[in-house]
């Protein structure tokens, strides 16, 4: 079977210089760089030069496929540009660190930046990562020693545009993965200071990055992390498309009809954090339109899990895992609660449905997307999830695995819902692009990953770290602004 990106061409390849546009009808060249590419009539050509194979001279960028090009080599995740340079913004984070090792092991040249703000935010809340993580210098050293991976790291705030620009110019990344945002909805709902900090950090960081990319690496693909939470949960039950309406969607009103195909679908973010992601979406979308940048906006489901082969290779290589009310995500929190005997906290009815994906499957998706860059000007959206579950189902699954495999007396409780959200709603997410266009196949089942999490979190040292921060598990941050611990509504023993 053909690899998913076999038929992509130099038009998508970051190693290409799109040299200019030529209109031979009037023997003329144009100062306009390249715009849309070869035109519909076939009279205007785009000329490309390969930065890696200058001996090819000038050629039509559609003329060579990844499959044909010796610079693209086969991997389990599609053809990969040899030694491709990937820069990870937010490389010290839960996903950033995991991806750095994952890509490094595959032979990518990894670089990254972080300002450790996640460590600071968590400390500010009086919490800590329950899986202990090493300092960056130690992490880098361990990556070298244990996995033979050299990561080019620089500590910086991405809002420091001159430094970021300098680093990007130096590294010339062929793909940039942008994780460097504050990822927490409850954190953004604490008070005005926190809401402003989250939006400032996320929105302005991304906006500045777009300008830097325009000026320094316009042919590099941007893999920007959004979230499924940008869409909200439309109560009409209409499908949650992948960013844009499909070609055959129509709007009908007062007897008239319009196609909605290709338009951005409505967004209905569910916290000030999610609003920052929606703002990013528009900024990235516009930059692709104005400057022919190319980006995938990745609407990621909630991540769960602790495992990839690389992070498990050495304690110093572990990625962080948070369980407090602000930075813990639901499955991770449930497993930790089960380990220390806190009844799993379902908010409200527990019928909220969300999209999920395991840590390792998320890494697979990212790799496939990196290997199959968008074309110039393309703003592509993927809904990155491997399945969807109600919160209640998740709690039951965690409880089942904990009881059966680890002999833990796990209970489940319904508590007041501190958020403003529908706790019963229809949900029909479309998540077809990753499997159909990028060959993604989930490898890890929910039960399997939960099992691995129990294995890790029941280790005495980690269990002790959960115990230390037990008091930060039950939420106190209400969307209303109220600060009080939520009350238990109901307790289920088994």
């Amino acid at each position: 079977m053909k690899l998913h990106n076999a038929q992509k061409t130099c038009w998508n390849c970051p190693a290409i210089d799109l040299a200019g546009k030529v209109d031979f009808r009037a023997c003329g060249q144009s100062v306009e760089a390249f715009e849309r590419g070869p035109d519909q009539e076939g009279d205007v050509y785009v000329m490309a030069e390969c930065k890696r194979r200058p001996e090819l001279g000038l050629f039509d960028p559609m003329g060579i496929t990844f499959e044909e090009c010796p610079e693209w080599v086969e991997t389990p995740f599609g053809y990969m540009l040899k030694d491709m340079r990937v820069m990870i913004l937010g490389i010290d984070g839960y996903l950033g660190w995991t991806l750095a090792l994952w890509l490094g092991a595959l032979g990518f040249q990894v670089s990254g930046v972080d300002n450790y703000s996640r460590r600071d935010w968590v400390m500010e809340r009086g919490s800590h990562t329950v899986v202990p993580i090493a300092r960056m210098t130690e992490r880098l050293q361990a990556a070298r020693e244990v996995l033979g991976i050299n990561i080019n790291f620089r500590r910086m705030d991405i809002l420091d545009r001159s430094r970021l620009r300098e680093f990007i110019e130096e590294v010339k990344p062929e793909a940039i993965v942008h994780y460097a945002e504050c990822p927490s909805a409850p954190y953004s709902m604490i008070d005005a200071d926190h809401a402003i900090e989250v939006q400032r950090n996320n929105v302005l960081g991304t906006l500045g990055l777009l300008f830097i990319m325009r000026d320094t690496v316009p042919e590099t693909s941007l893999l920007k992390l959004g979230t499924m939470g940008e869409y909200g949960t439309p109560l009409t039950g209409r499908p949650i498309f992948e960013g844009m309406f499909p070609a055959d969607a129509v709007l009908r009103w007062r007897g008239r009809e319009w196609s909605l195909g290709g338009e951005l679908t409505p967004r209905d973010p569910v916290s000030f954090y999610h609003v920052s992601k929606v703002q990013d979406t528009f900024n990235v979308y516009e930059a692709c339109k104005y400057w022919w940048l190319r980006s995938y906006d990745i609407m990621q489901g909630v991540i769960y899990g602790v495992h990839t082969e690389q992070v498990a290779a050495d304690p110093r290589l572990r990625t962080r895992l948070d369980i407090d009310e602000w930075f813990g995500t639901v499955v991770n929190r449930f497993v930790a609660q089960a380990v220390v005997g806190i009844p799993l906290t379902i908010y409200g009815a527990g019928e909220q449905i969300r999209g999920f994906i395991s840590l390792q499957d998320a890494m697979q998706c990212m790799t496939r997307l990196i290997c199959s860059p968008p074309e110039p000007g393309e703003y592509g959206v993927v809904n990155q999830m491997s399945g969807y579950y109600s919160i209640r189902e998740l709690a039951e699954t965690v409880a089942r695995v904990g009881r059966k495999e680890f002999n833990l007396p796990v209970k489940i409780q319904r508590v007041e819902n501190p958020r403003v959200e529908a706790d019963r709603h229809p949900f029909e997410p479309i998540f077809e692009r990753l499997p159909n266009d990028f060959g993604f196949e989930p490898q890890v089942s929910l039960e399997e990953e939960i099992y691995r999490m129990f294995e890790l979190l029941t280790q005495p040292e980690i269990k002790a770290r959960i115990e230390q921060k037990k008091h930060l598990i039950i939420p106190r941050t209400w969307w209303s602004g109220m600060k009080k611990q939520v009350e238990t509504l109901e307790l289920w023993e088994e």
Partner: protein, 416 residues
């Protein structure tokens, strides 16, 4: 520029300096290359060879053994340009088309279009900042004319003035034995505004003529700067004529069943189907889909002769609105000789007046009409040679590949 236009404008006093050179020198109609486009014609001018030797058959070509569209440039030129010949002395080469990227020479060069950036167009690199100071540009922006003719004319003028500055700068500072200066704005002008030239009442008629007037002034300046022992040659690489119809050759080939596409619309030649027998590249170059040449070609050598006849007949019969389109169907063997000849197209079409051949694979009609009003012509380029010995050394019916040989002969004569 066509022979007739130069003759007429010179006679009408728009180009008085040229008129004087015509009176004192030899002024001939010259044939262009086949096909009559700048990259091929200029490669013949500077190497003194036909495409069978210099290897440039068009602005586009296919990488050998593939369907990959490539854009040949100076690195693809298989014969040395005259300034790399022995005993050529020191040269200043300004704006010769298809000499990008520039490479070291005894002298100075700034490549003409298609040049992607000024840095790689220029030798030695130390010249670049000076060119930038003059706001030198390789070419006008071809897209401007589609948006606004006044802006295009402004751009044309600006580009010309910068080019003149560059020529003066180099003339005054450089030692040289040969100085080449090419004006390419006239070609762009004629593509967009040939109708303005033909029609004295056209809004832009005066603008058209004024552009040539200014070039004539430069010609006068150069004529005054040279000595009686020097040779001055003026030439165009092709003629120009009225464009009435764009004719889409690949559409015709599809209609007649010679060409099949694997995808519609095709991305490019890579989507030519296995069963296709022939296809065209711009402007009227016909390639046979031969097994020995293309990965999916169905034809063997033995099939070639029959297809030559069949296609020649088909093209000779092609009519649009009662007018024959193709004046002559050339076989490769007739027009190309040399080590590169086999890489050339199997057939090349020479159109009748008024017909502009196009090689787009995406065309969905046989003919149409674009914004362009002028097209290249083959038979009426011009060559003007001034200086002692001009008459003896200039052939009666010169072609573009004769130019440097005339120049060498005159140089030889002066060496004594």
């Amino acid at each position: 520029m066509p022979f007739g236009l130069i003759r007429d404008l010179a006679a009408e006093d728009a180009m008085p300096n040229t008129q004087q050179l015509i009176a004192e020198g030899v002024f001939r109609r010259m044939t262009s290359s086949i096909p009559e486009i700048s990259s091929v014609a200029w490669s013949s001018v500077i190497t003194g060879t036909n495409p069978g030797v210099h290897g440039i058959f068009g602005f586009t070509d296919l990488a050998p053994g593939t369907y990959r569209l490539v854009f040949p440039n100076f690195n693809s030129l298989k014969a040395p340009p005259f300034w790399e010949w022995k005993r050529s002395g020191r040269s200043v080469i300004l704006n010769v088309p298809s000499t990008f990227p520039a490479r070291p020479l005894n002298g100075v060069m700034v490549a003409g279009f298609v040049a992607l950036d000024l840095e790689r167009a220029t030798y030695p690199p130390s010249l670049v900042p000076h060119l930038r100071e003059m706001d030198y540009r390789v070419d006008v922006d071809a897209q401007t004319a589609h948006k606004s003719l006044p802006l295009f004319l402004q751009d044309l003028e600006h580009t010309l003035q910068a080019r003149i500055k560059a020529y003066r700068y180099l003339w005054e500072r450089e030692e040289w034995d040969t100085f080449v200066l090419v004006f390419t704005g006239t070609d762009r002008l004629a593509h967009f505004l040939w109708d303005a030239y033909e029609d004295p009442t056209h809004t832009y008629h005066t603008a058209f003529v004024n552009h040539l007037r200014r070039i004539d002034e430069v010609i006068g300046e150069i004529a005054r700067r040279i000595t009686s022992n020097d040779v001055l040659m003026m030439l165009s690489d092709h003629g120009f004529g009225k464009l009435e119809y764009d004719v889409y050759i690949n559409f015709f080939l599809r209609q007649r069943g010679f060409l099949k596409l694997a995808k519609d619309p095709p991305r490019g030649p890579q989507d030519i189907a296995d069963g296709a027998l022939a296809f065209a590249l711009d402007p009227g170059r016909i390639y046979f889909h031969l097994k020995e040449r293309f990965p999916r070609g169905p034809l063997s050598r033995a099939d070639r002769e029959a297809l030559l006849d069949e296609l020649t007949a088909a093209f000779e019969e092609l009519e649009i609105e009662g007018r024959k389109v193709v004046q002559r169907v050339y076989r490769r063997e007739e027009i190309y000789t040399g080590p590169q000849a086999e890489r050339g197209p199997d057939l090349v079409l020479l159109p009748h007046d008024g017909f502009n051949l196009r090689g787009s694979l995406k065309a969905r009609k046989l003919h149409g009409k674009d914004v362009f009003t002028g097209k290249h012509t083959h038979a009426d380029a011009f060559l003007l040679v001034w200086g002692e010995g001009a008459r003896e050394s200039t052939p009666d019916r010169p072609s573009v590949s004769d130019v440097v040989h005339v120049m060498e002969e005159l140089r030889e004569r002066r060496r004594g």
